[in-house]
């Protein structure tokens, strides 16, 4: 697996200067490597990136691009070489025929944003966008992804700009623990396209009419997002976030003080 040198922007160089000055020379000369990435993860998990995070965001996405390691030969049975696009980057990886797309993303490509909540298609935490459609990566064999294009949570932001759906989830607190969130957001992003295409749902009153873009009601959003379980119970906030992202209008956040 090839390792590309990561080009850093001036802003990012400054960020690394702040965060890990002792490594800066190495990073600018030979690019980000796995150790830098680990350190970055360590800093992030310790919360040290909080105030710089918007700037660090893309670095993460790019750091995550660094392939982790090839597996020993004994680790792959019935190997299938798969070439596909992941977040717009070409990837070629030899996988065990049994590997799910989810495990391949997480364990081979370092993209751990997609989550394993049940591994059986019953929770939606592993939702990614495959050739423009939301699917469950846990029930998709990586071997069957030849020539396809996958978008994961790591690929939704453009540059330092969050996808509007991500921003809406943040504003509306559309999560608590955050574990189902990557799947929720991928699902919601794909839902926008489905609504634009005029897709109907089990709740749609008259489905015989001609397809036209639909502005989704709260209940329609809830039905269409029911394939993504959130055990923390952020559902109303998820619905509000999606409503805001779809309408482009502020959706009120509800809490009151009384007495």
């Amino acid at each position: 697996m090839n390792q590309q040198k990561t080009q850093l922007t001036a802003e990012e160089i400054k960020l690394f200067g702040d965060l890990m000055p002792e490594e800066l020379a190495e990073i600018t000369q030979s690019g980000l490597n796995r150790r830098h990435f680990m350190k970055l993860v360590g800093l992030a998990s310790a919360g040290l990136l909080t105030s710089h995070l918007i700037g660090a965001e893309q670095l993460f996405a790019r750091a995550a691009d660094i392939n982790i390691e090839d597996l020993p030969e004994s680790a792959i049975e019935n190997g299938v070489m798969v070439s596909f696009k992941v977040n717009a980057a070409d990837k070629k990886v030899l996988v065990d025929s049994r590997s799910s797309l989810l495990d391949t993303l997480r364990e081979r490509l370092g993209l751990t944003g997609s989550k394993k909540g049940c591994d059986h298609g019953q929770c939606g935490a592993c939702t990614v966008i495959l050739d423009g459609k939301r699917i469950l990566s846990c029930l998709t064999l990586a071997a069957s992804c030849e020539g396809k294009s996958v978008i994961t949570i790591e690929g939704l932001a453009k540059g330092n700009e969050l996808n509007p759906m991500q921003a809406a989830f943040l504003k509306h607190d559309g999560f608590q623990c955050g574990f189902c969130t990557p799947g929720q957001i991928c699902s919601a992003v794909a839902l926008m396209k489905e609504a634009k295409d005029g897709q109907v749902s089990y709740l749609t009153k008259d489905i015989r009419t001609k397809a036209a873009p639909v502005m989704l009601s709260d209940e329609e959003i809830a039905e269409r997002m029911s394939g993504n379980i959130c055990r923390c119970g952020a559902y109303p906030n998820i619905v509000a976030a999606i409503k805001e992202a779809q309408s482009g209008k502020d959706v009120q956040q509800n809490w009151l003080f009384a007495g």
Partner: protein, 337 residues
């Protein structure tokens, strides 16, 4: 999941040849059920022949006016595409609703039309390899018979198996009198009426349907119908979405004024196959469309139900759900909630 060889097929006939060559090979389509069962060690193929690479062929297309003057759904076409096709929405809304009642958007984007017909039961004893199950392991017994059988059959079960077939789509296909077109090893094609496609468990619950091992579903053929404007799919479940049916009903009414020319009713969640409510249909034919007649017909349909220890409620629920679906169909296709 046991190690298996992954093979891509170039054409349906190519796929069949590969399957015949290896008795432990299975076709892979959407994978939403097969991969799930392989992870549980319930399904143990040593080769998967991927049919999804046939996507660009007619095998996956939706076409109209073929053979039946109705619609033909390609076997590897996705459930989502079938549900949202404008002409299916217009002329077969009951099918759209049934598909959309099942699973989740993600799963419908993966699942194929042919694969939907081949879904295996969701009986938890079938899924649990530590439990006796004649469907999974013929001769081992049926743990559900005397076990926790709330979700199980009330019609057509046998001492060997009380499982239900979980598809929503097939329930609508039953009400629509669809036919399943299959390709045989020699390249010949046969067409099986949906009612003969799935089986009751009898002495061979391991066989879900009458498809031979060396046959491949190529399409689902649905004839035109006269009840598009008066049809409904009602699914009753333990939560409002993303759950299998306790009972579901697909209903269509062909009306002349308020007289029923014909009724088309099928039930899900009650048997080892989509349960065509022939008794209720016969009773409604020629009658006035009224709650009283709906109730009487539904009641009659349920008289032969043989509930198990935990699912007696399905008798009353089945009756009510038929009535609910007929009422909605009468008012015109609309949301069941």
């Amino acid at each position: 999941m046991r190690p298996f060889k992954y093979t891509g097929a170039n054409s349906p006939s190519d796929a069949l040849k590969l399957l015949i060559k290896n008795p432990n090979a299975r076709f892979l389509a959407g994978g939403t059920n097969l991969i799930d069962l392989m992870k549980e060690d319930v399904e143990r193929p040593d080769e998967l022949i991927d049919l999804t690479r046939l996507d660009s062929t007619s095998f996956s297309k939706i076409s109209f006016g073929v053979n039946t003057a109705g619609v033909s759904l390609g076997a590897t076409g996705k459930n989502t595409d079938a549900a949202h096709h404008p002409e299916i929405r217009q002329n077969f809304p009951i099918l759209t609703k049934a598909i959309l009642a099942g699973a989740s958007a993600q799963i419908r984007n993966m699942a194929t039309n042919g694969g939907n017909l081949l879904q295996r039961t969701r009986c938890s004893y079938f899924y649990d390899t530590a439990m006796a199950c004649n469907k999974r392991s013929p001769g081992s017994g049926c743990a559900a018979m005397e076990g926790i059988n709330r979700m199980h059959a009330i019609f057509g079960w046998s001492e060997n198996c009380v499982a239900v077939y979980p598809s929503d789509m097939a329930v609508a296909l039953s009400a629509l009198d669809a036919r399943i077109k299959v390709m045989q090893a020699d390249g010949n094609v046969r067409s099986i009426p949906i009612h003969d496609f799935h089986r009751l468990p009898g002495d061979h619950p391991e066989k879900d349907n009458n498809l031979n091992r060396t046959e491949l579903i190529t399409s689902i053929e649905i004839p035109t119908n006269k009840f598009a404007a008066h049809s409904a799919y009602v699914k009753v479940r333990d939560r409002n979405s993303y759950a299998f049916a306790l009972v579901s009903v697909a209903a269509g009414l062909v009306l002349e004024g308020n007289k029923i020319l014909s009724a088309h009713i099928a039930m899900g969640g009650v048997a080892h196959k989509p349960w065509r409510a022939l008794k209720a249909e016969a009773l409604l034919k020629g009658k006035i469309a009224s709650t009283a007649n709906f109730t009487a017909a539904a009641q009659a349909e349920m008289t032969e139900a043989k509930p198990l220890s935990h699912n007696k409620f399905k008798v009353a629920l089945g009756r009510n759900t038929i009535v609910s679906a007929l009422e909605i169909a009468l008012r015109g296709a609309e949301s069941p909630i």
